[in-house]
Structures are given as structure tokens and as C-alpha cells.
């Protein structure tokens, strides 16, 4: 699970668009279909094949299907674990590369300076996905999330979260003691609670 504070709440989990998976799904489909069709053709064509050779064919077919099953889950894990998690305090940008490499960075929502979206080409426009760039005031100034689904809607959501986070951090002090400005409302100049 993602390491968040106990009082922190996950607001939204953003993944890449399913279209990114499509190329791999097509390849896997053919990888499954072709050997099954070949086996089926050899059965229909009634070639003079011994029983042991036929059983060997079936064994290797299932071995191949098990390998394809594992490759499919590897592709799914790569897709599923590449994620942008928006909490009420921070945004986590996590990228899973292979089995054992995981890049994870996070930044506070109230440090966002700009969110921009690029939707490039017919496919991205038609299927509604694109690249989102989040600029922050931190060390790593720009976070790039390619191929995310519904980027404009996500941008709007992040902007709303930013507004909410900013409202929380702006403290309004009311002077109550006699030496103060008599109950005037003073905004905290630092803007930090």
C-alpha cells in the first residue's frame, strides 16, 4: 500500500488510459490464438500423428498458455502500478519499471504552480487521453504523467484540490487582546498554519 499519514485521505487514483494496453492485448491475443488454431487444424486434417506426439502437442500448448498468462500479468502489473495518487495533502507520482524498479516521488498540493495538459493526435483526442505536466516549487520542478485518461477532467480536479489545500493553509487570526487592533481580522502574512 502507499505510505500515507493516518489523517490523510486518498481522493483519487489516476492511471494511464486503457488504449496503452491495447497493443499488448492484440499481441497476446494472437500468441494465444495461433497455436490453438494450428492444433485445431492438425486435428481436422487428420495427419498421421502418433498418440504420444499428439499428447506432446497438447502439453506444449498448455505450457505456452501458462507462459502467456504470466506475461499478461506482468503487463497488467506494469499498467496497474504506474499511478498518480491524489490525497487531500499530496500527490504521489509512482512508476513501476519491471519487477524490481520503482520510482516514487510526492509533493504537497499547495506547492503546485501550474498544471498543463497536452493532447496530441487523433487517437489521444478521440479516446480522451494525454500528457499532464505538474510544475511545483520543489526540487524536482516538473512531474510528467504521460497517457493519462481524461486529462482535462483530472486537471480540473487537481486545481480544485489545490484551492482546497490553499484554503486550509491560510490562517485567519482575530486579534483579541487590548493591545491589538481591536478585533480587526488579520491574515497571516506567511500563509502557513
Amino acid at each position: 500500500m502507499i505510505e500515507i499519514d493516518t489523517d490523510e485521505k486518498i481522493e483519487r487514483v489516476i492511471r494511464k488510459h486503457w488504449f496503452i494496453l491495447l497493443g499488448n492485448i492484440v499481441i497476446l491475443f494472437f500468441a494465444v490464438a495461433i497455436p490453438i488454431i494450428l492444433l485445431f487444424v492438425t486435428l481436422i486434417a487428420s495427419f498421421p500423428v502418433s498418440g504420444a506426439a499428439r499428447a506432446a502437442e497438447v502439453f506444449f500448448l498448455f505450457a505456452w498458455l501458462l507462459i502467456i498468462w504470466m506475461i499478461g500479468w506482468k503487463i497488467w502489473a506494469d499498467y496497474y502500478l504506474d499511478v498518480l495518487v491524489v490525497t487531500d495533502k499530496r500527490i504521489f507520482d509512482i512508476e513501476q519499471i519491471g519487477f524490481f524498479r520503482r520510482d516514487s516521488s510526492s509533493f504537497r498540493i499547495d506547492r503546485i504552480q501550474n498544471v498543463s495538459v497536452t493532447v496530441d493526435g487523433i487517437m489521444q483526442t478521440y479516446f480522451d487521453f494525454g500528457t499532464m505536466r505538474i510544475e511545483t516549487a520543489g526540487e524536482k520542478e516538473q512531474f510528467v504523467s504521460p497517457y493519462i485518461a481524461q486529462p482535462y477532467e483530472v486537471k480540473k480536479f487537481i486545481n480544485e484540490e489545490y484551492d482546497r489545500a490553499l484554503e486550509k493553509t491560510q490562517v485567519v487570526r482575530i486579534a483579541t487582546d487590548d493591545t491589538s487592533e481591536g478585533g480587526k481580522v488579520i491574515k497571516d502574512p506567511t500563509g502557513v498554519s
Partner: protein
């Protein structure tokens, strides 16, 4: 009637080419089981721990293990069928 332009005779040799003998096929079976075991451990206990929701992680584990279980049973049965055919 003209003959079908693509000869399918090459398919008849696939079974014979895969008929590698019980020891080789048995070793391949064991090797595949070993690879599956290591892969499953990495996937279920290393990768899936990073999921964003416990329910999603549980669902994926169940689906993966169910599919793997069915394929492993079919693989084992086909290996037994191969041994029986040889015998």
C-alpha cells in the same frame, strides 16, 4: 479443381518435433513449475503489495491464482496423458 495453394503438411511434423521423450518433457514441466513458483511469489507478495486498495489486491490475487490453477491442472493432466500414450 486446382490444389489449395498453401500446403499444411508441415503441421504434421510439429507433434513429432515436440515428442522429445518423457525425461526431457518431464524436466521442462518441472522447470516451468519452478519459474511459475518464483514468478508467482514476486507478483503476489512483492508487486501487488503496492496496490492502492486491499480489496483490489485481493481480487487480483484470486483471479491470478484461479487462472494459474486451471492452467497448471491442464498442464499436469496433459503430461500424464503424454506418459500414458508412451506407455
Amino acid at each position: 479443381m486446382p490444389p489449395f495453394p498453401l500446403s499444411l503438411d508441415f503441421l504434421s511434423g510439429i507433434g513429432d518435433a515436440l515428442h522429445l521423450g518423457p525425461w526431457v518433457v518431464g524436466l521442462l514441466f518441472l522447470l516451468l513449475l519452478l519459474i511459475w513458483g518464483i514468478y508467482t511469489w514476486v507478483l503476489l507478495y512483492h508487486l501487488f503489495q503496492y496496490g492502492t486498495s486491499r480489496l483490489e489486491i485481493l481480487k487480483m490475487r484470486v483471479i491470478y491464482l484461479t487462472g494459474s490453477g486451471i492452467l497448471l491442472i491442464l498442464l499436469a493432466l496433459s503430461f500424464i496423458a503424454y506418459l500414458v500414450a508412451l506407455w
